[in-house]
């Protein structure tokens, strides 16, 4: 399989705070990589460095042969091929669902109205929301908004999809719909990087799981190994806290 994402020596600091302390990572075409880890471990920052929403302090990020960390790169052109889904959905609240899906197609990709609309309908159907095409974002549930956001990214025909805790802002009963869409996307062969707390999803869908803590990748490997039989103490502690939260006192010294 050819390499799609190549990250080497990636560092990111916010002022004196070192968030990423040297990340090396390659993602092959068609691979699904889930990134797990405690809050503050740098996993969201890592994801945001892949489309340069955060400017890395050091290191290289190459996506599909284009070095994004090159100061002369056309970052807008590169981002067209990298979809991103946010925790807070970030649908354009002044635009209808249809316009949310067509505005970038038309203004960035210069597609005609008819084509953009056709692509939009196709992708709305893909996420199971064809009938919501004329709705305003505010009329949709969180789960529906997130699926529209996924469809919006897909309308740009991306090579790579980044998911930044896509279900963390959802009510529990709405999580399943979004994960279902993501699973379907993975089955269709989309290359995906997913920051998530959904261990079940990671275990079933991910080709590879990364456990991050303190700005470094502590452990990585097949989902069954990292989540099923973690080798590192930090991974074990994290997983037991996530999978069995009620069995930890608030004063747990390992937190």
């Amino acid at each position: 399989m050819s390499v799609l994402v190549e990250i080497s020596g990636l560092r990111k600091a916010f002022g004196p705070l070192q968030v990423l302390r040297g990340i090396d990572l390659t993602v092959s075409r068609g691979e699904v990589v889930c990134v797990i880890g405690p809050s503050g471990s740098g996993k969201s920052t890592l994801l945001r460095c892949v489309n340069l929403l955060e400017e890395p302090t050091g290191g290289r990020v190459v996506v599909d042969g284009v070095e994004l960390t090159d100061p002369d790169v056309d970052i807008d052109a590169a981002r067209r091929r990298i979809g991103m889904v946010f925790q807070q959905f970030n649908l354009f609240s002044h635009l209808s669902v249809l316009d949310n899906l067509t505005i970038a197609q038309r203004k960035v990709l210069r597609r005609g109205r008819a084509e953009a609309e056709r692509v939009a309908r196709e992708n709305l159907a893909r996420v199971g929301l064809a009938e919501k095409i004329d709705a305003m974002p505010g009329q949709l549930s969180g789960g529906q908004q997130q699926r529209v956001a996924i469809a919006r990214s897909l309308s740009m025909a991306p090579e790579l999809m980044l998911f930044d805790e896509p279900t963390s802002a959802l009510d529990p009963e709405l999580v399943g719909d979004v994960l279902g869409v993501m699973r379907q996307l993975a089955d269709e062969g989309m290359t995906m990087m997913v920051v998530t707390h959904e261990m079940q999803f990671a275990r079933e869908v991910a080709d590879r799981v990364l456990f991050m803590d303190g700005g470094v990748v502590v452990e990585e490997g097949p989902a069954d190994e990292v989540i099923g039989e973690p080798r590192h103490e930090r991974t074990r502690t994290f997983l037991s806290r996530v999978l069995d939260p009620t069995h930890h006192g608030p004063g747990d010294p390992t937190s």
């Binding site: 981002r79 960035v108 740009m156």
Partner: protein
């Protein structure tokens, strides 16, 4: 006398109403209604104002306010963007402009553009351009701050979503952020339009032709030949014909957009299942 809390509240409110009624009655008794009628309610004097006060005065007031608002809005947007620029000199320039034009009376700006600038640059503006410039330059200073606040009130995630779809920064600003910012600031912008409507009365300083008179000027001219102050009352009522619908509109827009400013992090807990 142990009154319950509810009873005590009723008594307090009753006393407040009582005081209001007494004050109103005292005022009504103190006024010499005969004099008031002579001074303000002269039907003949009022009648002589029509139709000029509507066809010329009301029309010109509206035109001046609209011109000033248009210039102010455009320039205000530019200033707001400059204020938020990463380029230092743009920021300083915009800040200096805003501080200056917010700090000096509109009247002085009118004098400057009516007399000073034409002298200094040897150009002549017609009245409409002078008014558009003077009101616009003053209005822009206020509107720039309002627009900036609106832009900053749009959640940061909107820009991130736009940029991650490949939009350049400028496109994200103009197609995604600014339309949402204007929905947020419609009420204060309406307010600004009302202020400009009233400030258009400063046109009287310029020495304008008769068909360029606005409401206040017409009222003041009529005062010269009127035995009483009725023209002032009529002119004042004409202003209210403009401003009250505007505030109603503002309130209506506020209600309407208030319900639609959604999908920000705070409101996502609110699930509307359709």
């Amino acid at each position: 006398m142990a009154l319950s809390k509810r009873r005590r509240a009723q008594v307090v409110r009753g006393v407040q109403y009582g005081v209001l009624v007494v004050a109103a009655v005292a005022l009504a008794l103190a006024v010499d209604w005969q004099q008031v009628r002579h001074a303000f309610l002269d039907a003949d004097a009022a009648g002589r104002l029509f139709p000029g006060i509507i066809l010329t005065g009301l029309k010109n007031t509206l035109v001046y306010a609209a011109l000033g608002f248009a210039v102010g809005l455009g320039l205000g947007l530019v200033l707001a963007l400059m204020r938020m620029s990463s380029v230092g000199p743009y920021r300083w320039l915009a800040t200096a402009y805003i501080e200056f034009f917010r700090g000096v009376p509109a009247l002085l700006v009118f004098i400057a553009f009516g007399f000073g600038v034409p002298l200094a640059f040897q150009i002549r503006f017609d009245t409409y351009s002078t008014v558009a410039l003077s009101l616009g330059l003053v209005g822009a200073a206020y509107m720039a701050e309002t627009i900036r606040a609106g832009i900053q009130a749009v959640p940061k995630g909107q820009v991130e979503a736009a940029r991650s779809l490949g939009m350049p920064a400028g496109m994200a600003m103009f197609t995604i952020v600014i339309p949402q910012a204007f929905r947020i600031i419609l009420p204060p912008l309406t307010n600004e339009l009302i202020l400009l409507t009233k400030d258009s009365s400063l046109v009287y300083l310029l020495g304008v032709a008769r068909d360029e008179y606005e409401l206040t000027k017409i009222g003041r001219e009529a005062l010269n030949v009127s035995p009483n102050l009725t023209p002032i009352l009529v002119a004042g009522l004409c202003y209210l014909i403009i401003t009250i619908p505007l505030s109603q509109l503002s309130r209506y827009l506020e209600r309407r957009t208030g319900g639609r400013r959604i999908s920000s992090p705070e409101s996502t807990g609110l699930e509307v299942k359709a």
